[in-house]
Subunit: 447 residues, 2 copies
């Protein structure tokens, strides 16, 4: 069995902790069984392992999230990053092509595609195991998970099973799908026994490859990747689920939540505050998450969430947390904090001048053994002051060892790279005009 | 007439915008008549000038506030900074000695001492003119301002005038003082016609010098300054006002407020937000002040103040803003933003390591023509990256011109200084163990 996690999302609704590079599923806000903090993806992958699904894991994602996934989950998972953002059908098509061409999985192997951010319990993964069994038993070409609804939601798609008197079925044939209904239609659907579409799909690899081939005759993963834009921009639900002639659903009745807003997320936090926070004695149902160095003090608050990150500061009534999405486009300039495969960086200051010059100061942490690629910039100088650790610094082909207190001055057009021996921390001052991330030309360096 | 403003205060109640170096009276939050922003001290000095008091102004303050006063008010005011914090009587004694010895004011010149932070109107200064007249008319040795109370407050001291049937008096003899009474005592006081003690005192210079000489026979200001600790730690109210045999009060009935808490301060703000703030459409009686670069978004808040500075972030119900004072000692480590005579600095990051080493990153702005003194550090290296402007950098006696993009590396024990030609901005990384402000030895440099 192959488990494919879909990981996307712009992360607007959990601003300022999430951004394009750090969607909600990567926020380390949940408490793991050992008391440490874990993210939603770390939680679901841990649960998948605890359920002993005997599966290999592949993440279908985009380039911006690749490093976060590897940082949080290590090398035990495969990552297939789409070359451009399209929709869920192309993303799944690419991941399935990877299983076929790169991992050489056989056509009759079961593939289960699921979101990377459900907040759920172990029974969810036992349901996935039953779905895989139904696929192997040829109960249907496509087997979906149906979440037992707890209220007539307008937010979800619904799966309507065929009426049956047989109680012993492990899966039920699907009669039809209904996308995001009104509340009154949803009430009717609930009476009909409809289930929420949880976005979990099980099928045999060969079944999906046949659909992929309708759009692209390809002989390799590289070819599929290069021609990715030939796939239509369409969701998996529309392209596959709704067109399929043989579809079944397996119900799941356990705990399942979408922690997509601050309102729903804070319900699952085990502490009132995370980070450098001081709470006065007169707060009620208030959660404060602080990822900045400076302290936050709150008092006299009721039903409020406060979230602080290098990207910004949110203070919002919990029942208004849905409104963030429509405002956030006016707030976010660039991500001020990013987790990369080589480590993390945080923007400390961004000064701009009338002549178009910017001065950007960052705190950068390089993990031991990791490096920043050999590169040049055409429009900016960089000054690095090493504040902790040891590393190797390359400037125009000359390597020197650097440690705390050393200064690396890199002028425009100078080739440079740095590799951490121990965990390396440095303060970077970039000065340039224009000052854009994209002003990087990368070269090979043989460490 | 000499006007002496008392400027002190630890600035705890308006955390995080105020701190030891930046008390509430220096916060640029009020709207001036021309639409620009001004601080409380800028406002009272502007009003004193508008009232045409024909006065010279001296600030009695402490060393930490000296630079803020000069930055905000320019060279048109004298500043007398006490060498150590004692109480209001010593501070006024020192200022009066300055008027006597340094400014050579005559003994019969009127001196009016007042706080630097009342939020009031022009009539207040016309009352001060009347107080000065009463001093010159020898109505009493000491003439106080009595604020007409608006409610039976427990926070203020009260001045009880003698009962009189004469309505034409410009001042009233004082019967007694009562410090911070209970509400029921305050209610009785109001029925007696008592007034709030606004901390405004008028007297002839010679009168006060006689009291000063009871504690210290001194022949110069320098001598008085050097022996400052000989003055008792006592307030002016206790030492002078309550002991005086000839005291009168001049009532003031106009607008007068102490903007000492976020609750009272926000009532006088002309805008809901200051700085990089986005307000959603569902806020009510909420004020947001943001002195950080990152954006603040607020929605669904009612009766709340949000204040963000490099020192920290406050989110507080307005009616709980009095509680800040008792929590703030657990919050403030070091001031993260300071206004100095030479410019400003802001702490961007403060990293610490297990071996006791700290790495402190600051953004520093030097005003044109200003300099940082020639100095050495015994325990830290400093790296300066110039990001804007031009200046002169001295290292071990060698002067060189520096501009944007230049890097100054200063090792322990190296003599260094920098002077701005145009407004100069640089990022400083300090690395040291221990890393303390006090690790500075200053020397002379002839620019």
């Amino acid at each position: 069995m192959q488990l494919v996690f879909l990981s996307g999302g712009s992360g607007k609704r959990l601003w300022p902790l999430s951004n394009n590079a750090r969607s909600k599923q990567f926020l380390p806000l949940l408490e793991a069984p050992d008391g440490s903090m874990e993210s939603m993806v770390q939680r679901v992958v841990r649960q998948a392992k605890e359920a002993e699904l005997n599966t290999q894991i592949t993440f279908a994602t985009n380039a911006a999230q690749r490093d976060s996934i590897i940082n949080q989950l290590g090398d035990g998972v495969d990552v297939v990053a789409e070359p451009e953002r399209r929709d869920t059908f192309p993303a799944i098509a690419l991941a399935v092509s990877y299983l076929h061409f790169v991992k050489a999985c056989p056509d009759d192997e079961t593939v289960v595609v699921m979101p990377s951010d459900p907040y759920t319990e172990l029974g969810y993964f036992h349901t996935i195991a039953r779905m895989a069994d139904e696929v192997q038993n040829n109960a249907a070409d496509l087997v979906l998970m149906g979440i037992t609804p707890t209220y007539p939601s307008e937010k979800y798609g619904y799966i309507v099973p065929q009426k049956t008197t047989e109680k012993s079925l492990r899966s039920f044939p699907v009669s039809r799908f209904t996308e995001k209904p009104t509340v009154s239609v949803a009430e009717d659907l609930l009476r009909e026994g409809a289930l929420w579409n949880g976005g979990v799909f099980a099928f045999k690899l060969g079944y999906m490859m046949a659909i992929v081939r309708k759009y692209m005759q390809s002989s390799s993963f590289e070819d599929t990747f290069a021609r990715y834009k030939e796939f239509p921009k369409i969701s998996f639900d529309y392209e596959v689920a709704e067109k399929a002639t043989s579809v079944a659903v397996v119900p799941f009745t356990g705990k399942w939540k979408d922690l997509g807003t601050w309102n729903t997320l804070t319900e699952e936090l085990s502490h009132d505050s995370i980070g450098n926070v001081l709470l006065g004695d007169a707060n009620e149902n208030t959660h404060v998450i602080n990822e900045m160095e400076v302290p936050v003090f709150c008092n006299g608050l009721k039903d409020i969430v406060v979230a602080c990150s290098p990207d910004g500061i949110l203070v919002c009534a919990k029942d208004k947390s849905e409104t963030i999405k429509k405002y956030v486009d006016n707030l976010s300039l660039r991500p001020m904090y990013e987790e990369r495969r080589w480590g993390t960086y945080k923007v400390l200051s961004d000064l701009s001048y009338a002549d178009g010059t910017h001065a950007l100061t960052k705190s950068i942490m390089l993990l031991p053994g990791k490096n920043i690629s050999y590169q040049i910039h055409h429009h900016r100088d960089e000054v690095w002051t090493i504040v902790d650790g040891e590393g190797l610094f390359v400037l125009d082909g000359e390597v020197r060892k650097v440690k705390r207190g050393d200064v690396c001055v890199i002028r425009k057009e100078q080739f440079h790279a740095i590799k951490a021996i121990t965990e390396l921390v440095f303060i970077e001052v970039q000065i340039g005009s224009p000052l854009v991330e994209e002003d990087i030309e990368r070269f090979d360096w043989n460490w």
